[in-house]
Amino acid sequence: MREAIRQDVFAVPEANLVPAGCWVLRKTLPTTPDTWLNTLLVTGNGTDASSSNAGDICTIHSPELFDSIEDGDVGLVNGRGSVRVILSRRANHNTVLVTERCDNRCLFCSQPPKDRNDDELLMQAAAAIISFAGNDVIGVSGGEPLLYGDAFLRFLEIVQTHAPETGLHVLSNGRAFADRYFARAVAERLESPVVFGIPLYAALAEVHDTLVGAAGAHADTVRGLINAGNAGIPIELRIIPTQKNLQELVPLLELALRCFSGLQQVSVMNLEPTGWARANWGQLYCDPSLYADQLTSMVRQAEAAGLPIALFNYPLCHLPDTLHPWAVQSISDWKNYYPDTCSGCTMRPECGGFFSSSQGQFHQSPRIIS
């Protein structure tokens, strides 16, 4: 097993006595009671484990968990003896999942959609974000969060009212914004900094539609991006290069630069071997050296237009030196690792390394240059 840098799941046998769901993890009893989620008091070695399970407060003993959290983190108890820390003050990035439903079927979806109704997740996520009350950005992902329509508008209102310091980064396929009025409605509710990360994979409809497994998706997302941008919604445009869209990368960026407004950043992301991407790896993954020229041209165009561009999830040794300034050390801290070969590498402090999910057939070797 390759060690990821930060662990987020903890086996706590006595947690199967705690009702499943989201809890505020406390190291000491809060002076004002938690209101949006119930309190789970975590005790470690040397803490007084005498607190009662009175009222809504449950207590578990786990020195390991105790040492891994800060007071006020949010954990998800699965009812089968484990606790996953979903919002952590020690993480470099936190994300909440609001639904597993989606109107796309991306060949590389890391969170393969399920059709069952999971409406309860949205308000649970709101409660988690509000309880956490952080002042960093929290990722909101799915599935497709905007499938909630009006309920999503209420989610925005509630979160922004009760956690005004928390910024949101919403990952959406953007199709819902094809409805101009919905885009406007969302725009009107943006108070704290909220950015929508919206992927577009091709200038050509057929290529995008194939990659996302949905006919008509391209037309929706293109119109969605236009409407959202015109309505004033800040957008991060996300592009994942694969074997199927290499010809599209440069034209896609031109489309973005010429036609979309409100772009804050373009993010080019190396394919991550999780979810369906693992099953389709052979027909999707593309060695970055095969599209280094396209990346260079994209970086040039974006820079010339004054639009920030960043390359995510690329081990530095997989990119030409000239692109290193745009590579971002980005893989979430519980997802990355450095194989042994990296140990002598001088670029390691700036390098994001590899996904801990890239093992076996999914692993691309580091290429030590110096």
Binding site: A187, I226, N230, A231, G232, S261
Partner: protein
């Protein structure tokens, strides 16, 4: 004098071509029932060739334009909407 069939050359094509012929030569346009009659002050081969080139290109523009007429107006509407929206945002 050049005679151009009205069947083939619309008034738009002829007028556009002549507009851009002005730097090459002065011209006069008359018409009969079925034809346009174009008189060029400079009747040289190169002026005639320039007129032909212009007529040809405007015929092409006209034919392509006809296929996209409705989208052109759809775009105009959308532009106005989008500019209005931008202005109301800023």
């Amino acid at each position: 004098m050049r005679y151009l069939d009205k069947e083939r050359y619309s008034e738009w094509v002829v007028r556009q071509a002549l507009y851009w012929l002005t730097p090459t030569t002065r011209w006069r346009l008359d018409e009969t029932e079925n034809q346009w009659a174009v008189a060029l002050d400079d009747d040289s081969y190169s002026a005639q060739a320039e007129l032909d080139r212009l007529l040809n290109d405007f015929l092409l523009r006209e034919r392509i334009g006809r296929r996209t007429e409705t989208t052109r107006s759809a775009i105009a509407d959308a532009v106005i909407r989008s500019i209005q929206q931008r202005l109301s945002e800023s």
